[in-house]
Structure formats: C-alpha cells, structure tokens
C-alpha cells in the first residue's frame, strides 16, 4: 500500500511536466499581443516595451521561458501578470471561490443524484422512475447556460426566492442555485449510474442473506446494498471535482462569481502565460490527486481490491 502510494505520487511528476509544457506551448502559439490596448490608442512607448520584453524574457525562445517559469514555480513563485500583480495572489483569491462553488455542486449532485438513483433502482418502472428518467434526460441534453439562465430567471428574478447573482461574501445559501446549475448534468449521470448499480445488486445473494438474517429493510439497503453499489458512483464523483472546477467558467459568468474561469479567460486573451499555466497547473493537480483518492477509495469500499 505504501509503495503503491509512492509509485502513484511519482507518476504525477511526468504527467505534471507534460501538461505544463503543453499548456505553455499552446499559450505561446495562440496569436495575440501582450501590449495590445495596454497603453491606450497610441501604443506603448519603446522603452516600456523594451523593459517588459526584458523582464518577461519575451525575446527568448519558448523553451527558455518555460524553463525559467518552471524554475520559479518549483520555488513556489507563480510569476507576475503584465501589470505586476503576483499570480499567486490571483490564485489565492480566485481559487477558493471556484472551489466553494464546485464543492457545493458536488454535494448537491451526490445527494440528489444518489437519492434518486437508489429510490428508482429499488423500484423500477414506477412513476418516480419514469420521472427521474425523463428529467435526467433533460439535464443531460440541455447546455449549462440554458439551465443556468432559466433557473436564474425563475428563482432569482420572477419568484425572488434567491438573489440572482452571488455577492462577494459567497454565502452558502447563495451558492445553492449556482451549485445546482453547475452540477446538473453530472447529477443526472449519477442518478442513472446508481440506479443501474442498485438494480443490478438488488437481486444479489448477499442481499438475500441480509434479509434472511432478519435485518430491517433500512439496513439491508443502506448498508449491505449501498456499499456494494457505490463504486461506479464514487468514480464519477471523484473525477468530477476537477471537471466541475474547469467547467465552472460559464456558471461563474452567469452568477457573477469572481472565480478561476473569468481570470483564465482574461489571461488567455492577453497572452499572460504565467497566469494561464499557473491556474491550469493547479487544476491539473486537483485532477490527478482526485484520481488517486478515487483509486484509494476503491480499496476502502471493496476489500477485494488490494494495491501492491
């Protein structure tokens, strides 16, 4: 187990280098001018250009820039934006917001998705089952921005149940609606996967045994059946956190949340490679670590899975 963990963590190194390199190259290749619109209509003065070019090594080939960036990154320095702000600061303000939103989405999709999945998996072809099947189809088919704007208009504007946008304090109650919107598609998948999983295991011999032991139905389902049906759901949930954070860009835009999505969009337009790469690097790390957590959770959920 310990050796497995070390091996998995070591695997992160090449993946980490590969992804950062690719993103760096992409940003470098994208057309655009760091000085565009920077100094008003007249364009930037020559000496400012020279100063910036030297400071950010803009005249150096990309691999020198990349090497410098990586060297600084390993020392914990994310670099600065064109305007001189520390990228580390930007990450520190934008990431917690996105993380909160993504976590809210994850909790909502897990709770609602699993509940719907378990209830329909136990009793298929009923009214609830059909309701869930149809509504999940809608959630999967509709793009996030449609779900977002529609719900925002109904709940925020027409009925006034919640404020249409999220304030800077990011209160939990304000995040419920954006969280629901962000997690809606995944929620539908989780409901469907857990429905299938429960229905499959419902007739398993060990469920029969549990009933024959005279355990209450609550326990048969909640302990014996659920634990066995959870593995595919955990896979979905675990890998979803990274996807939710990366995909938050639209939801953040709709509800005016100052998160990673907006920041990275602005940075791409101005070719601010340090910002783009740094933000994506953190995303990649979240992804990789969540994958590792999921693999470890397998072993916790199913003792037959052992890692050497």
């Amino acid at each position: 187990m310990g050796r497995y963990l070390v091996r998995r963590l070591l695997q992160l190194v090449p993946v980490f280098i590969g992804t950062t390199l690719m993103i760096y190259l992409l940003v470098w290749k994208v057309p655009g001018d760091p000085f565009a619109g920077k100094c008003g209509d007249r364009g930037c003065p020559e000496n400012y250009r020279a100063m910036m070019t030297e400071k950010f090594q803009l005249d150096q080939p990309w691999f020198v820039q990349y090497a410098t960036y990586m060297k600084n990154l390993l020392q914990g320095d994310f670099g600065t934006t064109w305007s001189g702000r520390e990228v580390g600061d930007i990450i520190a303000t934008a990431y917690p917001n996105t993380l909160k939103l993504a976590a809210m989405a994850l909790v909502i999709e897990a709770v609602i998705g699993l509940t719907a999945g378990v209830l329909t998996g136990l009793r298929r072809n009923g009214f609830l089952d059909n309701l869930v099947l149809v509504s999940t189809l809608f959630l999967i088919a509709l793009p996030v921005f449609v779900v977002g704007f529609v719900l925002q208009w109904f709940f925020g504007v027409k009925w006034g149940i919640v404020t249409p946008t999220v304030s800077n304090e990011m209160r939990l109650t304000e995040l419920i609606l954006p969280g629901f919107v962000l997690g809606s598609a995944s929620m539908a998948y989780i409901a469907r996967v857990s429905r299938t999983s429960i229905a499959e295991n419902r007739r398993a011999d060990y469920v029969r045994t549990a009933i024959a032991k005279g355990l209450p139905m609550r326990r048969v389902v909640g302990i014996h059946l659920l634990r066995n049906s959870l593995i595919p759901v955990v896979t979905l949930l675990g890998t979803d956190l990274g996807a939710l954070m990366g995909g938050a860009i639209i939801t953040e835009g709709i509800f005016g949340i100052n998160g990673v999505g907006r920041t990275v969009l602005r940075a791409i337009v101005t070719k601010e490679s340090a910002t783009v790469v740094s933000i994506v690097v953190v995303l990649v790390l979240v992804y990789l670590l969540m994958n590792l957590v999921v693999d470890l959770l397998y072993a916790a959920l199913d003792p037959r899975i052992r890692y050497e």
Partner: protein, 347 residues
C-alpha cells in the same frame, strides 16, 4: 451455554403465538408460480411437509423440482415478482407466516427460522468482514454493544470449529477457504439461536472431504440445540447419515415421504426407486451408470396426470389421466403413485 438457551426455547407457544402442541413448522398445500414473459411456470404445486423440534427432514429432488423455491417462500426471500404465492399456508408455531405483517415476519427470520445458502462466497457480503456480518445480528437484533457483539461473534466462530476464531473475525469472505466460509455461514445462521434451520444444499459447492466435515458439524449442532432442520439436497449420500425423514420432490410436488430407513429399503415411488438405482455402486464397476431416462417436465407445460409418467417404467393409462394424490401407505409413509402398494410389496 447453548443448553440454557435451548431449554428456554423448547417450550413452543409459551409466548402465546400459537397452539402449544402444534407443529413447529408446517408447509400446507403451498402453491407458487413464476410469471415470466414466456408464460407461467408452476413451480410449486401443492407441497405439504412439516418439521418438528429436534428432527431433520431432508428434501430431495433434482434441480428445478422446487425444493429451493419452497425454502425461499418459507423464508420470505422469494423474488416477487416474478414469483407469486397462489395458495397454501406456511405455519410457524401454528401461525400463518404468509398472512402476517412484514414486520412480524422479519422478526421470525434469524430468530425463529434461519437459513444456510449453497454458495457461501456469493451469499456473504464481499465488502464486510465475516465478523461484522455475524456481530451485526447481535447488535441490530439483540441491541448489544459493539464489543459484546464481537465477543459473541467470536464464540460463534469458535462453535463451528474455525481455528483462531479471534484472528479470523476481521477477515473478509474471500480470505476464507470454501469449507471455512461455509462454517462461517453456519455460525451466522445460528447466531440468534433459531428453532428451525433451513440448509439449502449446504455442501454442494464443496470438496467431497470437506462435505463430510460440514455435514457432521451440522448434524452435531442440530442435535445439541434440538433444532428442527430442513436439509435440501440432491445428493442421496448426504442424506442417509443425517436425516430422520425424507421428502422426495418432483415437478413441484412431494412424491414420497418416509423415514430414512424405509425409503432406502423399500421405495414407494418409481422416481425414488430410479434415484436409488442411479447411485454408482462399487460392486458394479465397469458397467454403465444407470440413469432415469428423459428429463424433468417443463414447468410451463406439465403433462396431464402424474407428472412423472413420461419417464416412468411402470406407467399405465391411468397415470396419464389422473394425478395420484399423496396418500398414507403406512405409519409415517406417504406416496403419490397409483401403484405404491405394489411397489412396496413387490419382493
């Protein structure tokens, strides 16, 4: 320890749940069918048997004869749908279990009637330790604390002769060998001191040497606890040592019921005779094994008359027309054959 518990339980009806002098467990004219897309399969067609405290009833029959479905109906673990109970009663201490509330019935499971399953690997939950699955019953059904429940569970593992019971407590089912796993299954079923134990082919999935050990253990525990035991099997060899009475099933009916000795000495149904003749014998080495010709009937289309008539070497025109009822042909003997008397008296 178990003696004390047995003496408490050997007074049936003391809790006022039924006639004190009645049978412990009684299946009465039970009828079950499976309604599938392809048609209705009549799986159980009027099964009647009973078991009393301290006795072992063996239910013998081929696959598909309905012996397991009867057991599942008694336990209330039949998959419904497709299964439907269309008639009959299952009385425990005289009270019909098929009409009582789900909660009442749940309380009987484990404590009144417990069950051992054939394939212990799939019957035990793969993601919980064996100890957890035994201790769980003490915690949930008896309200014991975790540590007390663990102590009792280890005692149970000890009683079924699992070496190093304490260490094995926290092992998972897949870490046990087949025989040890079936022992754990037995420990689990006996945890709540049931009055009736249903063992559904408990040794089918095991090696021959281990089979004998498990049967010995079951017999020993049954005598010690004075339980009623229903032993479901298709293996005549397993039955002989352990059973007191045997009920032979064919196509969802009991075709013969008798004491073990009588049944082996003088079978009163051609099907039983066929089964006994098909046991390989050492003094007939080198000869072809004897079989019963034909196949069990399709349960969606059972032939009219005696269901065994297409395979029966003694079949007469009457067999194709009327179903022979299960009739007494002596003390504690019954046969569902038109020619039962002739069969018994033929030598």
């Amino acid at each position: 320890m178990s003696d004390i518990l047995v003496s408490e339980q050997s007074a049936p009806g003391a809790d006022g749940s039924g006639r004190p002098s009645g049978r412990l467990l009684e299946v009465d004219d039970l009828r079950v069918e499976f309604r599938t897309r392809d048609g209705v399969a009549k799986v159980i067609n009027g099964v009647t048997y009973h078991v009393d405290a301290g006795e072992t009833l063996a239910v013998l029959g081929e696959s598909g004869s309905g012996k397991s479905v009867t057991a599942q109906t008694i336990m209330g673990i039949l998959d419904m749908p497709p299964g439907f109970v269309t008639g009959g009663r299952v009385r425990f201490h005289g009270k019909d279990m098929l009409t009582m509330s789900a909660e009442e019935r749940r309380r009987i499971r484990g404590e009144g009637i417990a069950m051992i399953f054939q394939d212990s690997l799939s019957a035990l939950n793969p993601v919980f330790t064996v100890g957890f699955q035994i201790a769980e019953q003490f915690r949930i059904r008896r309200g014991m604390s975790r540590s007390d429940a663990k102590k009792r569970a280890i005692e149970m593992l000890d009683q079924v002769k699992i070496p190093n019971a304490k260490g094995r407590f926290s092992n998972y089912p897949h870490q046990f060998s087949g025989g040890m796993r079936q022992r754990a299954m037995i420990a689990m079923s006996l945890a709540l001191d049931p009055e009736v134990l249903i063992a559904d082919e408990p040794t089918t999935a095991l090696d021959v040497t281990v089979q004998a050990q498990i049967m010995d253990l079951l017999g020993e525990l049954q005598r010690e606890r004075r339980m009623g035991m229903i032993l479901i099997t298709h293996d005549l060899g397993v039955v002989a040592d352990v059973a007191d009475r045997i009920a032979v099933m064919y196509a969802g009916r009991i075709v013969e019921e008798a004491d073990v000795y009588d049944l082996y000495a003088k079978p009163a149904h051609p099907y039983t005779l066929g089964l006994l003749n098909s046991i390989p014998r050492l003094d007939e080495r080198g000869q072809q094994l004897r079989t019963i010709k034909g196949l069990p009937p399709n349960l969606m289309n059972i032939p009219p008359g005696c269901p065994f008539n297409p395979r029966c070497p003694m079949a007469q025109p009457v067999c194709r027309e009327t179903i022979p009822p299960l009739l007494q042909i002596g003390t504690g003997r019954a046969s569902a054959c038109h020619f039962a008397e002739e069969l018994v008296n033929r030598d």
